[in-house]
Every structure is written in C-alpha cells, then in structure tokens.
Amino acid sequence: MGDLVDIIIIGAGPAGLSAAVNALTRGKTVRIFSNKENYLTKAEQVDNHLGFYHVSGKELMDKFKEHAEAMGIKIEEGMVVNILPLGESFMVNINGEIAESKKVILAMGISKIKELPGEAKLLGSGVSYCATCDGMLYRGKNAVVWDQSKDAWEEANFLQSIGVNVTFISKKPQPENLSNDIKFINGSITEIIGENTVEAINTGNETINTDAVFMLRDAVAPTALIDGLELDGNFINVDKHMETNISGLYAAGDITGKPLQLSKAVSEGLIAAQHAALQIDKEEN
C-alpha cells in the first residue's frame, strides 16, 4: 500500500490541476490521477477565460500542465475503481493499487456513462468494471469484454492469460495486440441478460451466452465509485466548500454541474483544495 498523502485528486483537467496547484501552495502532499484526454483540449477557441484571449483549448491545457509540472506535480496514469471512506482517511483503488489519503477531490469531468439495461442489477453478479479485481473468479468460464477505453485489450489479454475464455466486443477494428486466442466481434452490447447472475448479452444482432461481462470504460460512474454519494440530477451535490455529503470528499469542475466552463472548474478546484487543506490543518492541531 502506498504512503498516506494529504489529498488524492482524481482527474487532471482544469479543476484537478487547479486543486493540485492550490493544495501544494498550502503545503500539502498530493497525488493526481488521470485516465483520459480532457475535453478542453478539443475546444477550438476559448475567449472567456480571463487573461487569455483567443487561444485554443489545447494551448491552455498545455499551459496548465506546464504550470503544474513546474511545481513538481506528476500526473499519474490510472483509473480509479473504488473509493472507501474510513472516517479519518480514504482508501482509493487505482487499477488494483491501493492508495491512501486524508481527503479526496473528484474532478473527472462530466460522465457520459450510459448504463446498459441489466447493468446495475447485475453489478457484482457477473458484471464487473475491473478485470484485475474480479478476473480470477472466472477462470475456466466465459467472459465478454466490452471495449470502451484505450487499454481494454490489455485487460482482455490478462483475462485470457489467467484462463478465462474471452470474447472481445468493440466498435473499433480489432486491436493489433489483442491475443489470437480471443474471439473478436465487431459491434456493441445493447443489453445484459440474467435473473440473479449474468447469463447472456445482446449485441443487437445476436445473443451470446456468458458468465461475466467486463465493462471497461475510461471511468467508473461516481455513484459506483463510492457508496452513498448524493447526486443532484446527473451531477454531484456539493456545499459551498465543494464538499460532498461524505465528509472529506470533495468534487470540483464539470462534475458538479453547469455552467460547464473552464473558469468555474479552475475556481472550484481552488475552493475544494483550500478547504481540504484547512480541514487537514485543523484536524492536526
């Protein structure tokens, strides 16, 4: 298990990096994890962020990263699978590695995750979000891996290597490095079928019998990450300090709601980090 740090930040967009910079300036130790490209990099032109007129989203994002890196912040690659509040600290599972911190800031941006019919009901009963976490339970059985992230083929290969009989379903062409033993289907999943456990999936064209479905997305939905997290519509409910209903857990940026704008994300990252830092100081004195 990693050492206890002050603040773990999930997401390295404008909100996450702003939180990291502000936590550091308050003398706190941070780890920051990211698993995807930020939406900002896709904005052709940004004109409403004070001090920067007529710049592309990518230029800004590069500058934000440069700023953070100049302060010694290292963005770590990894997807967060679970967060567990322990009262005075949190345990965070990043692709099977457990990290521990006093506070956590969620800054993963808006989740475009659309749950499939049957997914929520069968989560933990054949539906899994983490191949390295649950894979061993399906040795000698059939599993479907649904490719929705850039590293899904690696996890599919891992499953096959430990003795799971894998079928890989992807909208994209077959990945070059996908193991030859894995059956490849070009398509998607429309439904997960099963009463108490997963029995089959539907691709729209055919029904495939399977014992498990590994849904490998770029991110896990916030409510599946942490038990009991309160939402406000599709967004995470926060107070004016950007703290969620779970003490010590903060959220900042697009994930907390509209306006989905850069300047709001940056300021929320600051508010969350400064409040978290203040609480840590109070708790230690």
Binding site: N82, I98, L123, T132, M136, L137, D227, G228
Partner: protein, 109 residues
C-alpha cells in the same frame, strides 16, 4: 490481524461455525483482490465493535472453492451476514463501515 476474526480452513469448520453461533458475519475474499484489501480493516473494526455479540470469519475463495460455489460468490469482496445458519443479508463490493453496521443492527435482536 485482530484475534476476533476466525480464518476458515475447511468447509466443516464453516458449517460448525454457522451452526453453533447465532450471528456470523463472513468476509469472502482472496489474496489477489485489491478491493478486499480495502475492506479488510473495516471488517477488523466491525469485529472489534461487535465483539461478544457476533462472530466474524474470513473465507479465502481460492482455498475454499466449495463454499464460494455454495454461496454463488461472483465478485469479491462479498460479505454475508448469517443468522441462525441462514443468509440474512449480503453486501457486494467496497462498502463503508456503516453499511456493515446496518446489516448487523437490522438483524440482531
């Protein structure tokens, strides 16, 4: 690890335990499972807090496959609360202390 947690070494031990004890909370886990390592300290706290009221046990699903199959364990950690030998409540995945406390409180007289 706290001595209040019983490590189950075979099916017989398990069957004896749920027969003899009125309330047993069982953590199904495995060494390779990261979420299980997150839940482990929470289960220890539960064992301390409810010491004398309930029994707490751990079952390694790799070593005790018979039990894993019997209870249909498909994702770990799975925590099952047994009351008089029967499943009273089940929690799958990483859950906070309050969830386990709730499953105990709502089932003990």
């Amino acid at each position: 690890m706290t001595e209040k947690i019983k490590i189950i070494n075979n099916t017989q031990e398990f069957d004896d335990m749920i027969k003899q004890s009125r309330y047993v909370l069982v953590d199904f886990w495995a060494t390779w499972c990261a979420p299980c390592r997150m839940v482990a300290p929470v289960i220890e706290k539960i064992a301390d807090q409810y010491s004398g009221k309930i029994n707490v046990a751990k079952v390694d699903v790799d070593e005790q496959q018979e039990l894993a199959i019997r209870y249909g364990i498909q994702s770990i950690p799975t925590v099952i609360f047994f009351k008089e030998g029967r499943i009273a409540s089940k929690e799958i995945g990483v859950k906070p202390m309050s969830s386990f406390a709730r499953m105990i409180e709502s089932n003990i007289a």
